[in-house]
């Protein structure tokens, strides 16, 4: 067990309440001053199957959920079989001795089994089998020398709006678990200092929803799709009272087109989906750009292709985002890299969308969307900047040119309802006033020019956006032996690998790319050319970022660590690959 941190794993079947166990424990940790990172590995089946959740808590920022657990809480035999052998030396398996057994030889040397009669203990507090989880949580609190009151507090907050009896039963079960462990096993020798500084515990999707709400989101539409659905669930619970319409539509085609309609009349609009839903939206992404309607699309990637592994993570949709819709048109792709980033990316995306009147894609993935981590309380600035871009303002009586050619490509926007600005937004090519040229003007010399000018007007936005967004910067020592390149959700795990490499005496640094379109080709090229060795780390088969970097800079990243099995990276895997690369140099 590493000083200053501990890793737990809960495992069972879908329906066993693993996720809420994780969330409860994460909050207890946070209230005890610990940082937390948690990942829930689940499957599509609603009941049954195999689910396990790993949670790592410690005194410093936890950059990943870690790899091997110190404490395993198996809720069924399958979990015992699969996970008990992986428990780290010095760790324990705390289990319901009335339901499970530890067969001989299952545990590694130095791992202890801690039997708890959880069924009978729990049965005193209710018939719900999930009460056993609470017993186990109580036991874990004791094992880690944590404060039982913190657990009771979280249970109180969670069940507070249910009957008092439920709250009492939960607290009773937790206490019983705590007492049993106290009496029979005592504490582990985990070295953990607790403080009173508690931090918000958030998933990426919650941060995205919250960030968007804070940034003035007024319209959100979605069609359920893992791993984007929880943005909908969060927003529909919190946003309507702020005058934000949150709608589930009949499909993703309706979703994006409704959002475009809402944006057209002036509402800051966003949608959320995963890769398959985004595929359906692509035609309308082009529409948004052509009609110059701002809209933000959150695409949370899951393991593809096609339906693929809906509950597993992947960074496989970068090229889909780049290639979305026919023709050349301006759009922006932002890949936030951790939960805090999600909060601000939502507002930033809404601002860019409205300033440049274009679609902005926020590319996240299942891991980032759904995993939970603590962030610093003051990481969340509740007064985020809101930029609505150039508006036409009251009509000066002259006729209004919605698509006026300007240097930046941005023309002042008007909203229906304003007198004197009546115009038609069109997806056909049009002149400055929005009159379509496709019908009877196309191909006539003057309107061949109209077309060219409108293309140039639209595309010129990209140059100005590139100036607005910060280029990526190297993190870590300038003179590193190896540079680890990545994008999106892998930022923290790569960072952890960089730190681990440093501990092993290998100087490593990190180039993490957040803005994928437009692309800081110059800066990226310069940085990579200066690097001694470059390792691309991505959760996809073809090395999609590496290919983009090559397309934009010509730079070929020789070494690749590509993962396409749906599982998140463990720091060790990156470290090992980096060691291999540096040793072979």
């Amino acid at each position: 067990m590493k000083d200053g941190e501990v890793t737990l794993r809960f495992g069972g079947a879908a329906g066993d309440g693993i996720a809420s166990m994780g969330e409860t424990f994460a909050k207890v940790c946070s209230r005890s001053g610990l940082h937390v990172s948690e990942y829930n590995s689940y499957q599509s089946a609603i009941r049954g199957g195999h689910v396990w959740l790993q949670i790592r808590a410690g005194e410093k920022k936890m950059l990943s959920q870690g790899e091997y657990a110190d404490i395993l809480v198996p809720l069924n035999a399958q979990t015992m079989e699969l996970h008990a052998p992986e428990v780290a030396s010095g760790g324990v398996v705390i289990y319901n001795s009335e339901k499970l057994k530890i067969r001989d030889g299952l545990l590694k040397q130095g791992v202890r089994g801690l039997p708890v009669p959880a069924t009978s203990t729990a049965s005193k507090y209710g018939k719900n089998p999930i009460m056993q989880n609470v017993v186990a949580l109580g036991g874990v609190i004791r094992l880690l020398n944590m404060n039982l009151d913190k657990l009771s507090g979280v249970l109180q907050d969670t069940f507070g709006n249910k009957a008092k009896a439920i709250v009492d039963a939960n607290i009773g079960a937790a206490t019983a678990g705590y007492d049993y462990v106290d009496k029979n096993f005592g504490s582990l020798n985990a070295k953990l200092n607790f403080t009173e500084t508690s931090r918000p515990v958030m998933s990426g999707n919650q941060a995205t929803g919250f960030g968007a709400l804070a940034a003035g989101l007024k319209f959100y539409a979605a069609y359920p799709m893992t791993p984007a659905s929880s943005i909908l669930h969060w927003l529909v619970a919190y946003a309507p009272k702020f005058g934000t319409v949150v709608k589930q539509a009949e499909d993703e085609l309706a979703v994006i087109n409704m959002a475009i309609g809402a944006a057209h009349v002036g509402a800051r609009s966003m949608v959320g989906t995963s890769g398959g839903g985004f595929a359906l939206m692509t035609e309308a992404v082009g529409q948004a750009s052509m009609s110059e309607t701002p809209v933000v699309i959150v695409e949370s990637q899951r393991a593809g292709p096609s339906t693929g592994l809906p509950t597993k993570t992947e960074q496989g949709d970068l090229w889909q985002a780049i290639g979305a819709s026919q023709g050349d048109y301006p759009k922006v792709i932002i890949a936030p890299s951790n939960v805090r980033d999600c909060y601000y990316a939502a507002g930033e995306a809404l601002n860019i969308a409205e300033k440049y009147q274009i679609p902005v894609i926020i590319l996240v993935d299942l891991y980032l969307s759904e995993h939970i981590e603590t962030i610093e309380a003051d990481d969340i600035n509740l007064s985020v900047p809101i930029e609505r871009g150039v508006l036409a303002g009251p009509s000066n009586g002259n006729s209004y040119a919605r698509y006026a050619v300007t240097e930046t490509g941005v023309s002042p926007r008007a909203f229906p309802g304003e007198a004197g600005h009546e115009y038609v937004a069109t997806t056909d090519e049009h002149d400055e006033k929005g009159i379509i040229v496709s019908d009877v003007l196309a191909g006539i010399p003057e309107h061949i020019e109209t077309r060219r000018r409108q293309m140039e007007k639209r595309m010129s936005k990209m140059n100005y956006i590139l100036k607005d967004i910060p280029p990526p910067r190297i993190w870590g020592p300038e003179d590193a032996d190896i540079t680890l390149v990545g994008w999106g959700s892998t930022m923290q795990v790569i960072k952890e690998a960089v730190l681990n490499l440093g501990e092993k005496g290998v100087k490593a640094n990190q180039l993490h790319i957040k803005y994928l379109m437009p692309f800081h080709a110059k800066e990226v090229e310069e940085t990579l050319k200066k690097s001694k060795r470059v390792l691309d780390v991505e959760a996809n088969y073809t090395g999609q970022l590496a290919k983009l970097i090559r397309a934009e800079t010509g730079f070929n990243i020789e070494h690749r660590l590509l993962k396409y099995d749906g599982e998140p990276f463990a720091p060790r895997q990156i470290v090992e690959k980096a060691l291999e690369v540096t040793q072979h140099a």
């Binding site: 209230r31 508690s198 931090r199 918000p200 515990v201 919650q206 919250f210 709400l213 804070a214 007024k218 319209f219 946003a239 309507p240 009272k241 702020f242 005058g243 934000t244 319409v245 949150v246 709608k247 539509a249 009949e250 499909d251 309706a254 087109n257 409704m258 959002a259 475009i260 309609g261 809402a262 944006a263 057209h264 009349v265 002036g266 509402a267 609009s269 035609e283 309308a284 529409q287 009609s291 309380a377 509740l382 007064s383 909203f415 229906p416 309802g417 304003e418 007198a419 600005h421 009546e422 115009y423 038609v424 937004a425 069109t426 997806t427 056909d428 009159i435 379509i436 019908d439 009877v440």
Partner: protein, 286 residues
């Protein structure tokens, strides 16, 4: 009634001479004038098709969207600004073909939108393929041996799906049509106005003459517009006599009325959240 010139723009409609859509443009314009709705308060949304060019020919706000998505775009617009008079105009292919899903779902939402479909029973802009309302046996570019599908019955579909105002017009009678559209706009809830709008270039079967011989007005036929079963029977009349006019009308709360976030009016006029109002939300994460 406002002057019809209120809605006049420079762009001349470029439909084929004689196209039924001219009549619909007149009908929509006249309806707006009758209701004295200012151009600034109208949003005309369309998809793609000959008919979908209509928003370019009328002074009002407009969104000339992509093929099949007009109703979805309009729904979003209405949900974001319920004060606008949202009128959707488009073709049978756009609305009953590729747009079928949105059409059905919009009706069951009962948004206060008026949907005018220029039903020419053909794909005009793509030069004459079968449409979902093409009659059985119709020989078109894509069905050289005749259509073998049963045509969509938009009136019957609207009746079972929840539209609260279900009517039909005919381009050959623009005044009657204007009346029907005006009542549709006035009506609180989803109004479908299916219009026989002949394509003089590609549909040589369902012509003005063909319709003139057949249509009769429900208003003159002792039809009870509050009776669902009667409306359904009329919806299935297709032969020597074909009804136009109002089939059915009923009252039901609109979607906008039931949407809590819209209690305060158009979304873009509502204030952005203040930090202190967001604080309690931040608290939930601790």
């Amino acid at each position: 009634m406002l002057d019809l010139n209120t809605y006049k723009v420079e762009t001349k409609p470029d439909w084929c001479p004689g196209c039924g859509d001219f009549g619909v443009l007149n009908g929509v314009t006249k309806a707006l004038a009758m209701l004295e709705i200012q151009p600034k308060n109208v949003l005309v949304v369309s998809g793609i098709g000959c008919s979908s060019n209509l928003p370019g020919f009328i002074k009002a706000y407009g969104f000339h969207s992509i093929h099949g998505r007009a109703v979805a775009v309009a729904s979003g617009a209405k949900l974001a600004n319920p004060e606008l008079n949202v009128v959707v105009t488009g073709g049978d292919g756009d609305g009953y073909g590729i747009g079928m899903g949105h059409f059905v779902h919009a009706m069951r939402r009962n948004l206060d939108i008026t949907y005018v479909v220029m039903n020419n029973q053909i794909y005009g802009l793509t030069t004459g393929q079968a449409s979902p309302t093409s009659e059985k046996g119709h020989v078109t570019k894509s069905t050289p041996t005749g259509v073998i599908e049963t045509p969509v019955n938009p009136i019957a579909l609207a009746l079972v799906t929840g539209a609260t105002y279900v009517a039909r017009g005919f381009s050959g009678d623009p005044n009657h049509m204007a009346e029907i559209i005006a009542n549709g706009i006035k009506h609180k809830g989803f109004a479908l106005v299916d219009v026989f709008s002949p394509c003089v270039t590609f549909n040589k079967k369902n012509t003005y003459e063909w319709f003139r011989e057949r249509v009769y007005k429900l208003e003159e036929a002792d039809h009870n517009t509050m009776n669902f079963e009667a409306a359904m029977r009329k919806a299935h009349e297709w032969g020597p006599k074909i009804p136009i006019g109002l089939f059915y009308k009923t009252e039901r709360p609109t979607y906008e009325d039931e949407e809590p976030a819209l209690k305060m009016g158009p979304l873009h006029k509502q204030p952005f959240p203040k930090a202190e109002d967001l604080k309690p939300i931040l608290q939930t994460f601790f």
